[in-house]
């Protein structure tokens, strides 16, 4: 017999939908169906049932093959690796719960690690911009209930955050937005004609790498100053038109993604977009929000924020927290050979980092904590599989608008498999023994 678990939180992307329904066996050992999720979210749950899952830790042998080891051996290897290193990198943290992030932080403090999360290749530049200029923002419900001018800049939610537009940004009929999408105007800024752009009232195909100039032009337009005939490949008439469209709304929101966070200028692009939002508040209500990728990268930033004061790239090696992207960020540390061990949990740098960085991980003592086999696990010396957060163990996660939601356990993990939190607690205890504290 089966039962249905309702109000399930999807542990995939920053949209953090919490209205999923999951059908499981009565004894909670098998998962059968997922309702209301997008295709990616559904697969997140369903693929936990794969029969060929790695269920035990394994260690790379001299001849390149994998050999199964016990959790105890994995804990020992990890603890030794971290205590032997002078400056280990502890990276990832974006696909796990806050409880694990907190234990990981204690480990980082104990061994003087650099703690970094996936923002380092994604919205870290947004965080830098916020540190320079602030951020007028809101929760997603404010968009649903009030916003009538929606601007997607450098992001493609149709693909990357599939239910975003239907749950929050374009289609919902909220308290003050009873007309749904017919009462909203949509602008998309993207060099490509994407699926999201096909929904737009205005699509500005900005010249690649010139978003900063276009944002500056919008601000010039707001102030009523003269523009050059063409900026970033966009004729000035269309820039003035976009400016008026935004100003004429009751509530304008800008959503943005890697099209601007990781293209030329990076944090400056976001800085300029936030400046545009600030300026808009002189004419109407305006807010801006980053489209966070991993479902709990935001949580990692929050946990480190209240423990250390910084949201990513936190260097704990001197016994206190220091921060400076360009120095304390993972790819810079790896590029410069500044770290001597790599611990990865809840993300896949093997897939997302430049190949030159991945080679550095391969050439160092390295451990990957991940339920999956990934390009990262392939280059690490030890791979420890753990339960899926949000599927096989609960725990807190933070949505892209910083709202914290408690994920649920809907099904049992494979027999004998640890959770991130359990594994980390064992590692912390072993480290304390080794250090004699």
């Amino acid at each position: 017999m089966t039962r249905t678990v309702t109000d399930v939180i999807c542990p995939f992307c920053g949209t953090l939908c919490d209205d999923l329904e999951v059908v499981v066996s009565d004894d909670s050992k098998e998962l059968y169906e997922v309702y209301n999720a997008c295709a990616i979210g559904a697969e997140k749950f369903l693929h936990s049932q794969a029969k060929d899952r790695i269920t035990r830790p394994r260690m790379r042998q001299e001849d390149g093959s994998w050999k199964e080891i016990s959790y105890d051996e994995a804990i020992e290897y990890t603890a030794r690796m971290l205590t032997d290193a002078k400056k280990p990198l502890m990276y990832g943290w974006s696909s796990t719960n806050c409880e694990a992030q907190a234990v990981g932080s204690e480990i980082g403090e104990a061994v003087g690690a650099v703690m970094d999360n996936t923002a380092t290749v994604c919205h870290g530049t947004s965080l830098i911009a916020v540190q320079d200029i602030g951020i007028p923002s809101c929760t997603l419900g404010e968009i649903k209930n009030r916003a009538d001018r929606i601007l997607f800049w450098g992001c493609n939610p149709a693909h990357a955050h599939p239910r975003h537009m239907s749950r929050y940004s374009i289609f919902p009929r909220g308290f003050f937005t009873g007309k749904g999408h017919t009462g909203r105007k949509v602008i998309v800024v993207d060099p490509r004609p994407t699926d999201t752009a096909s929904l737009a009232d205005i699509h500005l195909q900005v010249e690649q790498g010139r978003d900063y100039e276009l944002l500056d032009a919008l601000r010039v337009a707001f102030k009523g100053e003269k523009l050059p005939d063409v900026v970033a490949g966009i004729p000035k008439e269309r820039i003035y038109e976009a400016a008026e469209t935004l100003k004429s709304g009751r509530f304008a929101i800008i959503f943005f993604g890697m099209g601007v966070t990781q293209s030329l200028g990076k944090n400056h692009n976001i800085d300029a977009a936030i400046a545009v939002t600030r300026d808009l508040n002189e004419y109407t209500k305006a807010a801006i929000m980053p489209m966070r990728g991993h479902y709990n990268v935001t949580g990692s930033g929050q946990v480190w924020g209240w423990l250390f004061g910084f949201p990513y790239a936190v260097d704990l090696s001197r016994g206190f927290a220091r921060y400076n992207p360009g120095e304390t960020t993972s790819n810079d540390l790896l590029r410069r050979d500044e770290v001597d061990a790599v611990f990865v949990l809840g993300s896949d740098p093997g897939a997302h980092f430049p190949f030159s960085s991945v080679k550095k991980i391969y050439n160092r003592p390295s451990v990957a904590i991940d339920p999956h086999e990934t390009p990262t696990t392939e280059v690490c010396k030890v791979h420890v599989p753990v339960a899926f957060v949000g599927v096989e163990v609960g725990g807190c996660a933070y949505r892209m608008d910083n709202v914290p939601i408690e994920t649920r356990k809907v099904v049992e993990p494979p027999e004998g498999m640890m959770t991130d939190e359990e594994f980390l607690k064992h590692v912390l205890a072993r480290i304390k023994e080794i250090q004699g504290v």
Binding site: E109, Q131, S137, T139, G141, G305, W306, G309
Partner: protein
Amino acid sequence: MAEYLIKNGFVFDPVLGIKGDVADIAIKDGKIVETSAVKNPKVVDASGKTVMAGGVDVHAHVAGPKVNIGRNFRPEDKLFTYKPKSGIERMQGGFSVPTTLRTGYNYARMGYTTVMEAAMPPLYARHTHEEMRDTPILDQGAYPVFGNNWFVLEYLKNHEIENTAAYIAWLLRATKGYAVKVVNPGGTEAWGWGLNCENVNDPVPYFDITPAQIVKGLIEANEYLGLPHSMHVHANNLGNPGNYTTTLDTFKLSEGIKPNSKFGRDQVMHHTHVQFHSYGGDNWGNMESKAKDIMDYVNSHDNITIDMGQVTLDETTTMTADGPFEHHLTELNHLKWANADVELETGSGVVPYVYSPSIKVCAIQWCIGLELGLLSKDPMRTFISTDHPNAGPFIRYPRVIKWLMSQEAREQQLDAFKHKDKVIDATNLAGIDREIDLYEIAQMTRAGPAKALGLAHMYGGLAPGLEGDVVVYDFNPNEPYAPDDIEKAFQNAEYLFKTGVQIINDREIVSNGNKRTLWVNAKVNENPQVMRDVKEKFLRYYTVTLNNYEVTGHYLSNPYVIEVDATQ
């Protein structure tokens, strides 16, 4: 559990009425006991030193989403002010917005043991609790905000007090909150459209209810429930020259209402950081202190309590649920501005601010806060605060105590103002020679706040039966001292006990304690209408489901529930 005997100290306790006499204080099993009840105590020699109950802070922004925005968006607040980990202390960072670990340790070092988080946005309650859980040593609670909440606005428009009360009870339980907090009533909802409510009769766009109706209705609902604390308000028009009239209008909403509380409080309204609400004049050029008018009212109405909101003349970070005010501030100083509006509930803003002694307005603000304290006729109703971190970081409380206790220290600061003469013309401080004494300080920082919170049965004094929260300061009030000696002593407690556990020994932190989170569980009669309204709003307007809203379980590592029966 351990027994302690703190011997021979100069005790200042408004609960027992001890005004500096030498007395012994005994702790056993987590509580204060009669000295005869301890058999084999560890003795702490407090001769020549000051002994008080642990401090109680009614209002500080120390845990939650806007506090964390303040941390994450100000790396420069951490630069060179870190404290490396040592002993049992974990690493600490942040000057005006300390990390949670630093918050716990720094309050403890000042002898404070209970700190209430001033504003918790209900949708983000989980975050506030996570931060409180990671704040060591201190007992804490958090105040959910109600003054811009759509349920409250709709019920109070029709003066539906019982429904409002039922909703309050439900929300306190769902968020594990402590009291009814009101910030810029109506104005932060107006800010959802970029607007504001600047006085108590300014109607909220669409909801068409006035701030006066909101405040009055919430006072009535609070008394209907008989909650431990009173309605706690940050009135409209904060920070604007001439705003003292709005403050008096807000105070007057409490007239004629008597407290209905089994928890011993006498007030029906606590107005917070009143310094920011005591301005005369009508522009920054002629802005002046109206502290006299404000305190005339407070002194003659004993159903009100206030806290000062003292400016400390530091570079700090302002953060408040008064979203429109923060936007106004960033337009003034052009510094980075973060804003976070919360669906159906509230909003917030965060902006760094430098209170410079060379700026006339900052100096006037500094005077006003102290005037409020010095003009108070009842220190049991006037509390010390800096609205941390808005007017200054809480680590300056000892400096505020010094200024209140020493006219010499105040004159020293007045002399250092660039526009001293203009400042004196616009304020009353230079003419006040009162010096608050230690007993009154204990009233303003211990007994008064505890009573106002409805927690006099636990904190604020040294009577047997109260929690074993005791501090010893290396300060001898009977020997000659310089004003700075006060600040030095109160900055670094010699000994501290929290719930009977020794936290500080010889100025070293020796334990991370066992903090508790206080919350109020108010039982009301079944109210099907409110439950239906709640279900409907979650279905149609919120972006999380009703079943995912309530904060449960492990978020409170050590919950302490205060039960209230409001079913009569």
